[in-house]
Symmetry: C2
Subunit: 342 residues, 2 copies
Amino acid sequence: MELDERKKKILESIIRDYVATAEPVGSRAIARKEEIHLSAATIRNEMSDLEQMGYLEQPHTSAGRIPSQMGLRYFVDCMMTQETLTEQEMTSLRNSLLQQINNWNDVVQEVVQFLSRMTNYVSFIILPALRFEQIRNIQLVPLQEGLALLVIVTDMGVVLHQKIPVASSITPEELQAIAQTFSRVLRGRGLNSLHRSQLEILKEQMLKEKRLLDSLLETIDHLMNNSREEKIMINGLMNIINEPEFKNLEQLRSILSLLEEQENLKRLVPDSMGSEVGIRIGKENKETDSQQFSLVFSGLRFSEQIGKIGLVGPIRMEYWKAAGTLDSVRAVLEDILDEMNR
Amino acid sequence: MELDERKKKILESIIRDYVATAEPVGSRAIARKEEIHLSAATIRNEMSDLEQMGYLEQPHTSAGRIPSQMGLRYFVDCMMTQETLTEQEMTSLRNSLLQQINNWNDVVQEVVQFLSRMTNYVSFIILPALRFEQIRNIQLVPLQEGLALLVIVTDMGVVLHQKIPVASSITPEELQAIAQTFSRVLRGRGLNSLHRSQLEILKEQMLKEKRLLDSLLETIDHLMNNSREEKIMINGLMNIINEPEFKNLEQLRSILSLLEEQENLKRLVPDSMGSEVGIRIGKENKETDSQQFSLVFSGLRFSEQIGKIGLVGPIRMEYWKAAGTLDSVRAVLEDILDEMNR
DNA sequence: TGTTAGCACTCAATAATCAAGAGTGCTAAC
DNA sequence: GTTAGCACTCTTGATTATTGAGTGCTAACA
């Protein structure tokens, strides 16, 4: 269903006005705008048409019109151009991220902060479980009488560690020897591919410390399997308090507790998407709880991994700004993460 | 200023009633209670006295009374007994913490969750920067062409790591040798205590890799100095939405944004306290922003370190429960943390 | 045929008024 | 010292006007 130019212009005006004020917008408000030189009466006719077609709706008879979700969808699909960040803003962000390029956590933290600060919406990022199938190095560092630290470095450069008890009779040199044997046997593979013959080698090396073998194998296995959690960060939750649509405490609580729980967020965002920005407007979200807000999201690809990054805001959202900002930030972040994983 | 038994009883009744309902409580409501067998009129007289003395106040002429902050303070100081957790609850918590004793983060996370779930207030924990003055072991693990991972284990068993670039000509064996030399020279000390003569040893070892020396020293220094951040966790922020005193959006926003910022929290909690639970009621907090709520807190001592743990709630707080629960949880957590740090 | 001014009508939001109810303080009796 | 009784106060909630923004329709105009 195509709209003629004039209707488009009016629809856009209404949307921009409504997004800015959160109030139904009347014909006179539109007539006052410079870019439109029509009388209020004419606009009323057009608005009536647009309502008929489903792009606008009226909260009640004597109020102005607000864009329907279908109207917003039309706008987003057919009329909107994203407002990306300026070159300047992007390099500024990039520089500020480069400052803490050695700390993965800080980079991501800063990105979500940046996103929610720029847009005043709730920002989130979901990073995939880091993949590390293979062991690169194993160390056993004596800490004190009867206690050592097991340190594993994986092929992705991830460091796992855990304290484990050892017999107090064991010497640092023995520990080192054991770790070296483990390293040698396990390098380039995971525990699963450990063969009986290799186990024999380990056993032999550890004649004196039978119990330590079990404990080590168990700990290594545990670390390799349980450390690959997804990482989720949310920022700017408080931003939604300012949105007038959530002045209703009941709603506010429902949405805050929805977003507070990271599991919910994971369910909210569709997966399997490319780098284009996706938009879910209100009812387009699957679960009823999430149908009171909109979601702007994008895939995040870096060194063969896929994460998600996005924004949550009211249905009356500045989609052009949200989508543009998100896309710019995604690009910068992907670069940086690639850089970090070399 | 001592109160006679009857006044105390009435004051307590009013406080408990007010804390439960958030409504001013009238003389008849008190008269109805079983434990008090006095007529409403008598109670009115007593209440009038208590108001005169400053323990109660009246929102307006024909409303009931509410306890003043001075009244709450008196109650907390002179009348209240803490409601600690039951033995059962404590062992249940302890067991659940022991399950994840290998992950420091998870333990703390679970504790704040437990606290806010039990009390319905906002819980927080501030852990001190981990002290690690001394290096115990240094590793250089080759990751790929031109890139290695530097891993440092400190005396507290903390593991620091960072990727660093190396010449692609360098062999794994050389890397290991370099790391061993570093380990040997630096073991048991920090970078600060590195002497010129020791630097010479390192230089010699690294004839082939002059640039690596600088890069390594710099990275080690950086890691040792910048990794000792305080750790703050907050949980149950959403709990305060339910408190009727914060139904006013303006206040809600002010308090949420105060607590959202971890720096603010750090400033809020007084330091240098022992293990007894401290209580700050409303205006007793220093900064005006924080005078609209109460704070229940305690020091957290484990293996020679000092952290803080506490709860934030409305002035109309169940201090007896908050203080008791906090104290029990603190005790359990201290045990566990001691255990973890052996 | 498309545009616009004019006007009656609608309906939410705000203000104003009123009644009900909870609570107090005071007085007089027990 | 305690209590019943009563007049008085003040919030709360409901009800009713009032206001004003906005529409839809009609008729006139270009």
